[in-house]
């Protein structure tokens, strides 16, 4: 009794998928935009990195690995990039332990059954909704190098006038630390919320069992909380490291990479090379190196997390 049409429909559904047309149509707009604005730019970066390319230029010269050689190996020009990459990792070395530690402490404080937790949580989280551009503007006045700057004023008051004003952003070695402190303030609430969610997933029975074994507060933290938080902490450490590699806004607005390149970062170099100096090819090559580092970090994260599953 089946008509030819419905038979054809069924054959189609078996050969392709049951919802072939709807499935394709529903994924089409997002797929198209992702291809146009993520995939194509990504491959374009790779191609441009082999050219001496400028914005909207028609004449571009193929130069092979020359851009990479200049960035990474040429003794005359590679210094800036290595210094910037070093700054990124130095920044990560300050921010990752301090911010994760602070966020864990905050999350532990908030993970208690006492009144007013929601109130405090709101305040700790508030900086997260601020754009980095605004955070930077406010903190410029905290870092001001004379006594009118907040930090200098506080130090002066506490020490009874014996500490001289510090040039927080103008001293190599100190500028990056200052930016790190500001970034920790801006980002700790974000990590705190993630760690808090992790804490709440640890089964209460484990704590009860520990209590029966007469474990004290520290032992509970060491043997129940920390192992329970392992995956959350691995995740937090990796995303904070990736955040550290993406560092741009603060540096661009506060220091422009100075003093003496001590706050320059990979993204700052990539953007200023491509945008300010109109050297799209070299900027693209830096982007490619940046992506490779991100991918490497993500692979490390997956490996560490998988290892955990196998142990279990």
């Amino acid at each position: 009794m089946t008509t030819f049409g419905s038979l054809r429909k069924r054959v189609f559904k078996r050969r392709f998928g049951y919802d072939q047309i709807a499935g394709m149509l529903m994924s089409l707009p997002a797929t198209l935009l992702l291809v146009l604005f993520v995939v194509i730019p990504f491959f374009t970066a790779f191609i441009l990195s082999f050219y001496n390319a400028h914005l909207a230029s028609t004449h571009t010269n193929f130069m092979g690995w020359e851009n990479y050689r200049r960035i990474l190996f040429d003794p005359e020009t590679s210094g800036v990039f290595w210094q910037s990459l070093g700054n990124n990792f130095q920044f990560a070395l300050i921010v990752v332990p301090l911010q994760t530690g602070l966020a864990t402490a905050l999350a532990l404080l908030l993970n208690q059954k006492i009144k007013g937790i929601a109130f405090f949580r709101t305040f700790f989280f508030m900086p997260v909704v601020f754009p980095m551009s605004l955070v930077t503007v406010v903190w410029t006045l905290f870092f001001s190098r004379d006594l009118r700057g907040m930090f200098n004023s506080v130090l002066h008051t506490i020490s009874g006038g014996s500490i001289n004003p510090v040039d927080w952003l103008g001293t190599p070695g100190l500028a990056l630390v200052s930016i790190a402190i500001m970034s920790i303030w801006a980002g700790a609430g974000f990590q705190m919320v993630i760690i808090l969610a992790g804490l709440q997933e640890i089964p209460l029975e484990l704590y009860e069992a520990a209590s029966l074994d007469k474990a004290n507060a520290f032992q509970k933290f060491r043997h129940v909380t920390l192992p329970g938080l392992r995956n959350t902490l691995v995740f937090v450490v990796i995303i904070t490291t990736i955040f550290s590699l993406r560092l741009f806004d603060q540096v661009y607005i506060l220091t422009s990479g100075g003093p003496l390149g001590s706050t320059s970062t990979v993204m700052f170099q990539a953007v200023t090379t491509a945008w300010t100096q109109d050297n799209i090819g070299k900027g693209s090559a830096m982007t490619v190196v940046f992506v490779l580092i991100i991918i490497a970090l993500t692979v490390v994260q997956r490996l560490v997390l998988r290892q955990e599953k196998e142990i279990k």
């Binding site: 529903m26 707009p29 006492i114 955070v135 406010v138």
Partner: protein, 287 residues
């Protein structure tokens, strides 16, 4: 009755409770200090903002700085303050609303529909999730050059988001499939099931994606910085930064600008702070 909660009488516990609140209060003060400084500074005369600890003193307050913000931006050359606002609102709305529609649709087709090519597209989206925007900023700047100084260039690259797709996908896959199967057996096609069954069941994930994509759209800085140099299409954060870099002295006005920039976000945040915090937490647990 005589059995009061023990904790209230136990002095050790009370001391611990006191310590907890003490730490919480001190940390709250530290966390809130820069925000308080911004709010108070925006109401103070220009020369009293940058004055060390005195910057916190709420004296000589007035709304003069806010009037100055509007007076500083009242010509073609400087741009108009209201137009920065409108630009930010348009860009954010297109990104949020367009993103909700197309990202939820693709996520549904990947999570619940049976079609060839699904696994390929799913793998493709998962790969893109790890790529931060910075990884494509430079080539995108080159490719979008014909659209310099447009609002189009500021929203179109951000409407589709692998991260939003991933959030929707994780939610849809966790929904019980019974209701959907029943609807399908009753003869509803995939489109009807999506719009009439799935969307009404998925308010939490729509709220999360709205909050997260709005925040990143409203706060976006790097791409507008590269793509926009004409004041009439400047979004708020860029306009504030340009103003800040030109005018390193007029702190009161810059702070007032900052408050006006963050005000809508703060209002929504304080009204829905639970949802904000849940969104961020859920986004990370799933990512």
């Amino acid at each position: 009755m005589s059995i009061a909660p023990k904790g209230n009488r136990n002095p050790v516990k009370q001391f611990k409770l006191f310590l907890n609140y003490f730490f919480l209060a001190v940390i709250t003060l530290i966390f809130f200090a820069p925000i308080a400084y911004l709010l108070i500074g925006s109401l103070k005369p220009q020369n009293e903002v940058l004055s060390g600890l005195g910057g916190f003193l709420p004296v000589h307050l007035g709304f003069g700085n806010y009037a100055n913000v509007f007076n500083a931006f009242n010509s073609e050359a400087t741009g108009y303050f209201y137009s920065f606002y409108i630009n930010s609102i348009i860009v954010s709305c297109v990104i949020v609303i367009g993103g909700l529609i197309i990202n939820s649709m693709i996520a549904y087709s990947l999570a619940r529909l049976r079609w060839k090519g699904r696994n390929f597209i799913l793998g493709f989206v998962v790969l893109l999730v790890i790529l931060p925007f910075e990884a494509i900023a430079v080539p995108l700047y080159d490719l979008m050059n014909p659209y310099r100084n447009t609002l189009f260039a500021q929203y179109i690259p951000f409407v589709a988001s692998a991260f939003s797709v991933f959030l929707f996908y994780s939610f849809f896959i966790s929904l019980s499939s019974e209701i959907q199967e029943a609807a399908r057996l009753d003869g509803a096609g995939p489109w009807r099931v999506f719009f009439q069954v799935i969307v009404p069941m998925s308010k939490p994930v729509f709220a999360s994606v709205t909050i997260l994509s709005f925040l990143s759209a409203w706060n976006s800085f790097l791409f507008p910085l590269m793509m926009v140099d004409s004041p009439d299409v400047r979004p708020l954060p860029l306009a504030m930064t340009v103003f800040f870099q030109q005018q390193q002295k007029d702190w009161g006005t810059i702070f007032a600008f900052g408050v006006l920039l963050i005000l809508p976000v703060m209002i929504v945040f304080l009204a829905f702070q639970r949802y904000f915090i849940q969104s961020v937490a859920s986004s990370a647990v799933k990512g």
